[in-house]
Amino acid sequence: MNREDLIQKWLDHNLNPQELEAFKQLEDYNDLIQLDMHLKGFKAKTVHTEDTLETIWSSINSTSKKSNTLLSTLSKIAAVLVICFGLYYYTTTLDTTVHTIASQHETILLPDASEVELNAMSTISFNTSSWNDSRSVTLNGEAFFRVAKGETFDVSTNIGNVTVLGTQFNVKHRGNYFEVTCYEGKVRVKTTTKETILLAGDTFLIIDGKYIATEKENLSAPSWLNNKSIFKSIPYREVVAEFERQYNVSIEFENIDDSQSFTGTFTHNNIETALKSITLPLQLKYSKTDNIIRLKRD
C-alpha cells in the first residue's frame, strides 16, 4: 500500500492495525501527528444542545406572539389614524364662531369676501366648508352685513330669518328685540308672525313679538359703525342695555318706567357725555361707582 493511500485512510479514520503500523513507519508520520494535534485547537465552541433547543422554542413562541403584537400595534396605529382623521374632519367641517365682548367691534371676512361688522357682545357662526352650497350665518346680537353678490345669503336668529341677495343690511337681535335695517338692495325678513321685503332705508322692528312701524332710515350705514347709537322711539330698557354693552358697565335704576320711549343718541367714545345723553332728556340723575351706574329720578 503506497503512502498516499495510507494517508487517505488515516484521514478517513479507517486504518486497520497493519495499516496503522505501516502508517507509523512513514517518514512524515511525526509531522502529520503534530499537525493533527494542533488542529484540535480549532475546535468549534461546544453547543449545549438542550439549552439552545430551549432558547429556540422560546424564540419560536415569542415570534408567534410577536406577530400578534404586530397586529395589535397595527390596529392601534389604525385607531389613532381614524381618530385623527375624524378630528380633522370634525374640526374642518365645524362651524366657525366669532364672539365679541362688551365694547368690542369686530370685522369678519366671510369665505366669499362678504363682510360682517360685529357689534359688542354678539356671536356669529358660519360653516366655511359648506359655504359654497349655502351662505348662511347664525347671529345672536347685532351685526352689519355687506354681502357680496351671489346666491341667497341667510342670517338666522331665534326670532326670524333674513334672506338677501347682494346687499348691505344691519341685523340686531337682543333678547326679544329684533330689528333689521336695509341699507342697499333688497332684504326679505321672515319671522313666525310676519314676512316682509325691505327696500333700501326700510327698517323692520319687532319688540316682544309686536311689529312696530318705523320711519325711513336715511343713513347709509348703521350708526354704531361710527361709534354712535341712535334710537328712535325705542323702549328705554333697550337703550340702557345697548349702553351696558358698549361700555361694559351695569346700570341699575329705581322708580323708572323702562318701557317709555326714548329718542336720542349716545356716543361710544365718552362715557360721561353718553350718560348725559341718555339721562338728561328724561330728567334723570346718575351716580357712578366702579362699573355700576345708578339712575334716579330727579
Binding site: I7, M37, K43, K45, S59
Partner: protein, 171 residues
Amino acid sequence: MSKPLKDHICEEQLFSSIYRKYSKDLHNFLYYKFGSQLNPQDKMQEAFVKLWENCAKVPQNKAKSFLFTTANNLMLNEFAHQKVVLRHHQTKPKHSTNINPEFLLQEKEYRAKLENAIANLTEAQRVAFLMNRVEGKRFKEIAALLDISTKAVEKRIYGALKKLRKDIDEL
C-alpha cells in the same frame, strides 16, 4: 426498521429530534466556514426557527438541506467576504517533559503558521478538512451533511492537507 418519513415536521417531538441530530453539525459547519465573528450559534438557531416557521412545507428528508442552506444564506447576508481567521484555542494537552522556553516559542510559531495556513484554504476545503480532523467525522458523514459525493470530500480533505503542509513548510 426506520419509521416512514413524514412529509412535514410540525411536531415538537420530531422537530426536537432533528435539532438534536443536526444542531451541532450545523453549528460546526458555520463555524469552520465563516469563523466566529458572525456568531454561528445565533445563525444556527435562527435557521431552526425558520425551519419551524416553514415546517409544513419541509418534508423530513429535506430538513437537513433546508437547515444548511438557510443557515448558509443567513451568514452570506451578513458576510462581506472578509478573510476568515479561525483562532487557535491553545487547548492542546501539555507535554510536561518538554516545557522549556524554546519549545514554547516553537509551539507558538507553529500555531501562528497553522492559523495562517488554515485561513488560506478555500472555504470548501476548510469546512471538510476541519470537520474531518477536529470533529473526527468520516468522509461518508461529511458527504451526507454537505450533499456532495464521498470522492469530493476525499479530494477536498486531501487537498487541504497537502496545502497546509506546504504552507507550513514554506513559512
